[in-house]
Amino acid sequence: MKSFLNSCTALSLAASVSVLPASAEMMTSIGEGEGELNIVAWPGYIERGETAAEFDWVTRFEEKTGCKVNVKSANTSDEMVALMNEGGFDLVTASGDASLRMIAGKRVQPINISLIPSWDTIDDRLKEAPWHYVDGAHYGVPYMWGPNVLMYNTEVFGDDAPTSWNVVFEPMNLPDGEPNEGRVQAYDGPIHIADAALYLMTHQPELGIESPYELNQEQYDAALDLLRQQRKLVSRYWHDAFIQIDDFKNEGMAASGSWPFQVNLLQADGAPIASVIPEEGATGWADTTMMHADAANPNCSYMWMEHTLSSNLMSDLSVWFGANPAVPAACTDGRGMQTAEGCTKNGFDDFDRISFWQTPVSSCESQGECVPYYRWVSDYIGVIGGR
């Protein structure tokens, strides 16, 4: 049995070694398109007018470059990492909690920004963001970003819009006189521990938390305690955006952390819903188009990256997804449907109040030794299970 186990180990090791790509060199010029482009993306990120005719940012690209775009949707950052590890894709729209993992795993290659004419139009705040700019190299082109807002029911809150995340963390009566117990939700992912840590940064400054993604044991325990208190208030954690929408319609939910995506869809449906970025600030996500180290279609990939910045994509996608474009001009210059007011509503002016998702690692910048992500996962499972 032992020798069998050993050979299994050897096999799996051999398999994992053999798929490691040779370190890729940065491209220096763009040639002819290869006729095809394979992208891993969040659902709704790459639309060709099939869901709604007016949201189309693929057809014209295909006509112009001859690169046929194939999209593979992934629902979580971890699925994205897994798909990129498997290979066979050229590009991925990775969030900050996936991008560094792929850079460290050498699954993505550095981008030569001089080959992307519209690079200069990118938001200065994103050009060298730490989730894709590592050791002086750009591992991708910023795509979209957005805050995790506090969504609330305006019938419950009336004129007193919530100003603090305390409505989802502390037991209290909401403005309609009923307790918040059973009427609030929280995100069903370990990254929600960061939301608790962010709340503690304001409310327990003596803990000395500098980044909600970099927690030592004591800070981490305090965040878990807060989440255990929250467990008593939460009847169901939300996992799927559409289930949360349903819960706000049919389960009498009053408040929850959420994405502008759900807020926009609910409002479009006429539901009494609004959102706010509370005084503590908010966590958020920022996605980057990254290129696989072994991309089979590098020329089409570079053409697509340029296309994301210069076409109607940024503008229309920000309307469609309730997110903010990486190119500020897309809010105002009429290249698509987005307007300055729309961007403001999606949180464009709140960039500095957002702590963007990162993967928590054990060797962290602010304090040397932090609790790593895999423990966030198992402990959050415990908290939701009532431990």
């Binding site: 299994c8 799996s12 049919n250 009498g252 790593p372 895999y374 415990g382």
Partner: protein, 314 residues
């Protein structure tokens, strides 16, 4: 000339010789026929399973979070942490109660279908039992979410019947209650029961159809009351079918990770834990160790089922 006549027919083409060989050695033929499926089962199925199980003997390095490929039982030790034991216990209890309820509801339905339904009613019965299996599993689960919601059909029904107090009283119970049916364990239980019930009814019905009516009549002629006939004749003869059905309901509940994610309290069951540990956390050893748990439980379950004669009819 005689010499020529005695010579065996000259060897013909390759395919003829092959055919001769296979005819003279029947064992070889069987081996050749069985080899591809055996390889499929052995390499693709069992091989993958063992590769997964082998992972459970590794552990994740607590500092770097990377998997260390050294033999250790530490990962199995982690299964005994309180939060993980909760998950196992919760799942087994749920699977057990779903199986029990499915047997209780499934038996009368199967009995009616086996004994009384005839002609087009029988066809209608099959259609009725199978129909839910034809629609998408996700559609069914989502529609149950709407039925059970706080502002859903069931609440409306209770309200119309002026029985809201009853629902509220039930929901205020610990463990089975909650803020609404769709966020309570009761809701998870009901959806599981609905989704897996056909898997209980069909084998039970098959077993009941094999019970000769003459046995039941003989039991009555010998003076047994209906209850006694049921306990001592019908139930023992139908038990293999019920046990076979319970294997489906029990193991399917044990491994499911979609229903508890959509309906229920968000507390994890084994399937969700495996999904999350291997996907989100990259903690493949712990996910593999969790995957071993249902295998062990099902092993014990199948052993008991075998003792009860569930496989005698195979």
């Amino acid at each position: 000339m005689a010499e020529t006549a005695a010579r065996p027919p000259a060897p013909r083409g390759l395919s003829d010789r092959l055919s001769d060989l296979l005819w003279s050695r029947q064992g070889l033929l069987v081996l050749l026929l069985i080899l591809p499926p055996a390889l499929w089962l052995g390499i693709i199925y069992l091989g993958a399973l063992f590769a997964l199980l082998a992972q459970s003997f590794f552990a994740i390095d607590p500092f770097s979070g990377l998997i260390k490929y050294e033999f250790t039982l530490r990962t199995y030790g982690e299964l005994f942490r309180a939060a993980n034991l909760d998950i196992i216990l919760r799942t087994v209890l749920m699977a057990g109660s779903v199986t029990l309820a499915a047997a209780l509801i499934g038996f009368p339905v199967a009995y009616y279908a086996a004994r009384y339904a005839r002609g087009k009613w029988k066809a209608l019965f099959y259609l009725g039992v199978m129909l839910p299996l034809w629609s998408s599993y996700l559609v069914k689960v989502y529609s149950w979410k709407l039925i059970l919601a706080k502002e859903g059909i069931l609440s409306w029904l209770f309200e119309t019947l002026h029985l809201t107090w009853l629902l509220d009283a039930y929901l205020s119970l610990p463990v089975v209650g909650g803020n609404s049916l769709s966020v309570s364990w009761t809701g998870t239980f009901l959806v599981f029961l609905y989704v897996w019930l056909p898997f209980m009814i069909l084998p039970t019905q098959a077993a009941l159809e094999r019970v000769p009516p003459s046995m039941l009549e003989a039991s009555g002629d010998l003076g047994a009351r209906p209850g006694q006939t049921f306990r001592h004749v019908l139930l023992p003869l139908a038990l293999p079918g019920i046990v076979a059905g319970s294997i489906f309901t029990f193991s399917l509940t044990l491994g499911d990770y979609i229903i508890p994610q959509i309906v229920g309290t968000s507390a994890r069951m084994i399937g969700q834990a495996v999904y999350q540990f291997q996907g989100t956390a990259g903690n493949i050893p712990l996910a593999a160790a969790f995957a071993v748990v249902p295998i062990l439980i099902m092993g014990v379950y199948l052993y008991i089922a075998k003792r009860m004669g569930a496989f005698d009819a195979l």
